[in-house]
Symmetry: C2
Subunit: 182 residues, 2 copies
């Protein structure tokens, strides 16, 4: 295994930001040649599959500057310093969708794009929601809306819903519903 690992010869820190940092590592490859690796360091995040009844889940619509368009995504957000992932998931659910949930179940982790970033999202499943109040972050303008899981699934196939974490969430929700019916 060791022969496959890239040895860091130099690490240049290019940018230290609010949500991301950028560094460029010069590495020695297994064949002793050199290469550059551009790496975006990103805070850890959570995403929530929030069931609104039996076959609907909550989504948020928001403008994303990186894509210059409105997207439809599951509620999600960054984990704050010293915050447990499950607490971050409960907080984001309340902030973005306006519901609380006593028991939130951890499902699994996903890395959004290991080729250039360490961004990791822990995915949670929330049921039996209780209506609370919306508490959007100051610089967030998100609009909640619940959808049938099957409708969201068709939106993936039509490229109307393209956010990776949301695609994962919809596929997992569909499987969960099908298994619950067996």
């Amino acid at each position: 295994m060791d022969s496959k690992i890239e040895k860091t010869l130099k690490s240049d820190r290019i940018y230290e930001g609010k949500i991301i940092n950028l560094r460029v590592d010069t590495v020695e490859l297994p064949d002793k040649k050199y290469s550059k690796r551009e790496i975006v360091e990103h805070q850890k995040a959570v995403g929530i599959i929030a069931f609104d009844g039996k076959d609907r889940i909550w989504m948020v619509r928001q403008y994303r500057k990186a894509l210059d368009k409105m997207t439809l995504e599951i509620p999600a957000g960054l984990i704050e310093p010293n915050e447990l992932p499950a607490d971050a998931a409960k907080r984001e659910l309340q902030e973005e969708v306006g519901y609380t949930c006593e028991n939130i179940n951890y499902l699994f982790d996903t890395y959004s794009s290991p080729g250039f970033t360490n961004e990791k999202m822990s995915l949670f499943l929330a049921e039996d929601l209780k209506e609370s109040k919306l508490e959007n972050d100051e610089d967030e303008f998100v609009y909640r809306e619940s959808f049938e899981v099957d409708e969201l699934y068709n939106m993936i196939l039509n490229c109307e819903l393209s956010d990776a974490k949301t695609i994962i969430a919809v596929l997992v929700a569909k499987k969960y519903m099908e298994e619950s019916k067996l």
Copy 2:
């Protein structure tokens, strides 16, 4: 819809790299306040669900500097200038797994993390593969291995397989297999 869009007041180009660029946009929010958006511009990519027989798909094992560990991912790669996505998918399949495929089917697109990057991956499904020769890129050290889809699915639940595009691919492959059996 217009009131939800963030108006760009200033765009600072921080880094122009090999695979990514970084810019920081100063935007005006719908409430007229200002905010910063850190945006990583990334080349478009392709990923391939490559069936090896009926219930197995090809995976590649590789070291990822961003995570400092070996990962298991579907074959994937960047689209070259003027290359069609389907041609990029066929090329990556040959380079990383050593198989050719006459007909490769486009499934849908995914954005890996719309909160900070425009990275988009087009997902393809390949069947009826023909063995060819491995042609790894110069600075890539990837090791092919085929797995049963059900085994990969369990690896997701155990957090042994965490790459987002690969999780999507495995969930889609599982669904595709189940529907083919109906």
